[in-house]
């Protein structure tokens, strides 16, 4: 699955996007986040406060418990500050 990062998540992980083959045990957005945070120090740093991280599946806002099956793209980002 394509994983994309924005703002300081992108800076901490040091890449804007990557292809990740989530193991079959990863079924929800929350589990995907937990899996990613175990990929290395930069990931652990990026996701150190998981409660503030927002996520989107195929460019739609989703909750942590949303199932990721069938999605082509998952995005993680900090709270938005547009406007």
């Amino acid at each position: 699955m394509k994983v994309v990062y924005f703002a300081w998540l992108r800076e901490r992980i040091q890449r804007p996007e990557e292809e990740i083959a989530f193991p079959s045990s990863v079924t929800t957005v929350r589990e995907a986040l937990t899996f990613l945070s175990g990929l290395g120090e930069n990931y652990a740093y990026a996701f150190e406060k998981p409660e503030i991280i927002r996520a989107a599946l195929d460019k739609k806002h989703v909750k942590p418990e949303t199932l990721i099956a069938g999605a082509r793209e998952i995005a993680f980002f900090p709270p938005m500050t547009g406007g």
């Binding site: 995005a75 547009g82 406007g83």
Partner: protein
């Protein structure tokens, strides 16, 4: 409302012409009683800010602005609606965002524009990073706790 509200959404790096957008909203119409128009600008934060870097999620930004706009058009009897949000490097004094709402009725135009700005700030995927006058990268702007309070009004 027999006809759907004309909605214009644009996400762009270029600056925009708010007056031209309002002119387009009202052109050839005699049923519009009022247009409320909000322009957001980049502040220099007491002279410390050199520029804001506006990052966005391409595709999702347009989708979210459209979704919020369709929602506003369903809640208020709008005769036209424009949302333009810029991305990229924006210097103090420059325009960042435009929301314009036309309605037969003044109150509807005010409420819809206010609603759009509240929802845009917390739902549209844009993030601001500060570049300081002293050459250092500043921080990413934190979401304000007041944004959540603003939303609870609707």
């Amino acid at each position: 409302m027999s006809s759907p509200t004309p909605i214009t959404i644009r996400v762009q790096d270029a600056d925009f012409d708010a007056a031209a957008e309002v002119a387009r909203l009202v052109a050839g119409r005699c049923d519009i009683g009022g247009v409320v128009n909000f322009i957001g600008y980049c502040r220099d934060e007491g002279g410390t800010l050199a520029a804001l870097e506006l990052e966005h999620y391409p595709g999702m930004a347009e989708d979210e602005l459209t979704r919020i706009s369709v929602d506003a058009a369903a809640r208020w009897p709008l005769l036209g609606l424009v949302v333009i949000h810029r991305y990229g490097r924006i210097r103090p004094g420059e325009q960042i965002v435009l929301v314009a709402c036309a309605s037969a009725n003044r109150r509807a135009a005010f409420e819809a524009a206010d609603f759009l700005m509240d929802f845009l700030k917390s739902h549209a995927p844009f993030w601001k990073k500060e570049h300081r006058v002293d050459g250092s990268d500043g921080d990413w702007v934190d979401a304000k706790t007041t944004d959540a309070e603003d939303l609870s009004r609707w």
